[in-house]
């Protein structure tokens, strides 16, 4: 009888204690937060940034030859190098570039490729210009690309398109396969960069195929092989 009563009292105490609640801990000190969806603005700004950057690295080439003025496009690489087409520099006497924001910078011809429609210039003045980044991965068929340039020597334009495929370079005097794109290419785009969706250079525009409505670009792999100085020579004089 005594034991039963003790146990009952203990159980009652435990049950009573089990119903007890601990005091609250200190409230969190962090302030209120809010989750805002900025994806739309971010996408708009990102797309605009890629296009803007592409235009900033693209320059207009003015090549005064022996008896004519040649106009084309090009793009700036680190080290003050400017890449363009060989055929833009016909017997160059004086070559300068125009930037998208109106600056004019004289250049010197580093060399023209002997086996490809590529030429490399060197800025003659120490100026800060936005530089392009090269993509070493080869392009993929149907990959979106865009060509930037100064068609007809006019204002800079961005032509969007896709990679149609590769063309046997030997048919066009190129050492490797060239890229065929369906972006509209006209005279003056020559030497301009062909960029991927991230704004990386994948080729150098060098020809148009009006009958097909396509354009052709030298792949970056060929450019990289020429940038080391091999297969380059001085341009022809007057």
């Amino acid at each position: 009888m005594r034991v039963r009563g003790t146990v009952t009292a203990a159980l009652a105490a435990i049950a009573f204690a089990a119903g007890c609640v601990a005091p609250p801990e200190d409230p969190p000190s962090a302030g209120p937060t809010i989750d805002v969806d900025l994806d739309r603005s971010a996408r708009t700004v990102a797309a605009t940034s890629v296009e803007r950057r592409a235009q900033e690295v693209t320059v207009r080439i003015r090549s005064l030859g022996c008896d004519q003025l040649g106009l084309g496009s090009g793009f700036v690489l680190p080290g003050g190098l400017v890449v363009t087409n060989r055929h833009v520099l016909e017997q160059p006497v004086e070559v300068s570039i125009n930037t998208w924001d109106g600056r004019s910078v004289p250049t010197e011809v580093d060399g023209v490729a002997t086996d490809s429609d590529l030429a490399v210039l060197q800025l003659a003045e120490d100026v800060e210009l936005p530089t392009a980044e090269l993509r070493t991965d080869p392009v993929r068929t149907d990959e979106p690309v865009f060509a930037v340039g100064y068609p007809q020597g006019g204002p800079i334009t961005v032509s969007a398109g896709r990679v149609v495929g590769l063309v046997d370079g030997s048919l066009l005097g190129e050492p490797a396969d060239v890229i065929r794109i369906d972006a509209p290419i006209v005279q003056g785009n020559s030497g301009g960069p062909l960029l991927d969706a991230d704004g990386l250079v994948v080729g150098v525009v060098f020809a148009a195929e009006p009958s097909r409505g396509t354009g052709l670009a030298v792949p970056v792999a060929t450019l990289l092989q020429r940038l080391d100085g091999t297969q380059l020579r001085a341009p022809e004089g007057c």
Binding site: P23, P27, T44, T48, G102
Partner: protein, 215 residues
């Protein structure tokens, strides 16, 4: 050994000798049943302790409940403040988003104007380059024309001199004097060569002028 179990009705027996001849029984008076109060005291004490503990726990829980109540009110206030702040922040973000769109559009417009101006400047530089080249050509052409004109003028002067020399020789021959024609022929050859060169220079300058006019 004493069995004091109460209420059994069996009295204890006592061993009386070593021979084991007999057991002796002896009756005793029943012991008075003791009054056992301590369990009730213990129980009362336990109850009292339990009551005190319960009271203490109840007081503590009351305080805890009050703290929770206060905390709940604080949380509700923070929630309301957070909601208000969130609404304000969302409105500000919307405003910033609109401003960003506007700024982006403004920047785009400015960039477009900059591109147009840059294009005009580039074309002006093209023209300046071309004009500069043409100026150099014209300067060179002007020099060549001036040289040709000077040569032609010199040619005329020499032709006049040759004419004078020839007339003098003719008059001397008419007067019966002997005339040596070799110097005269040599002078005539020199004048012819000089004038042919002057004409070639003039023709070259004229052709250059024609090419310039065709541009």
């Amino acid at each position: 050994m004493d069995d004091a179990r109460p209420g059994t009705g069996v009295e204890p027996q006592e061993w009386t000798g070593a021979s084991g001849s007999a057991w002796a029984s002896r009756a005793r008076a029943p012991l008075p049943r003791p009054v056992r109060r301590w369990p009730w005291i213990v129980l009362a004490a336990l109850l009292a302790i339990a009551a005190i503990a319960a009271t203490l726990i109840a007081v503590d829980q009351y305080q805890v409940a009050a703290e929770w109540q206060t905390r709940a009110e604080v949380y509700e206030q923070q929630r309301d403040e957070a909601a208000d702040a969130g609404a304000v922040l969302a409105a500000q973000v919307d405003d910033l988003d609109a401003l960003l769109d506007t700024s982006e559009a403004d920047v785009g417009d400015l960039e477009e104007r900059l591109r147009v101006l840059a294009d005009q400047l580039a074309r002006a530089e093209d023209t300046a380059t071309t004009v500069s080249v043409e100026r150099d050509v014209i300067v060179e052409l002007t020099g060549r024309i001036a040289d040709a004109t000077e040569a032609l003028d010199s040619c005329i002067t020499r032709l006049f001199e040759l004419q004078t020399t020839s007339v003098a020789a003719f008059n001397r021959a008419a007067a019966g004097d002997s005339v040596d024609v070799e110097p005269l022929n040599a002078q005539a050859a020199q004048v012819t060569t000089f004038c042919n060169e002057a004409r070639s220079a003039a023709a070259s300058a004229g052709a250059a002028a024609d090419r310039l006019a065709e541009r």
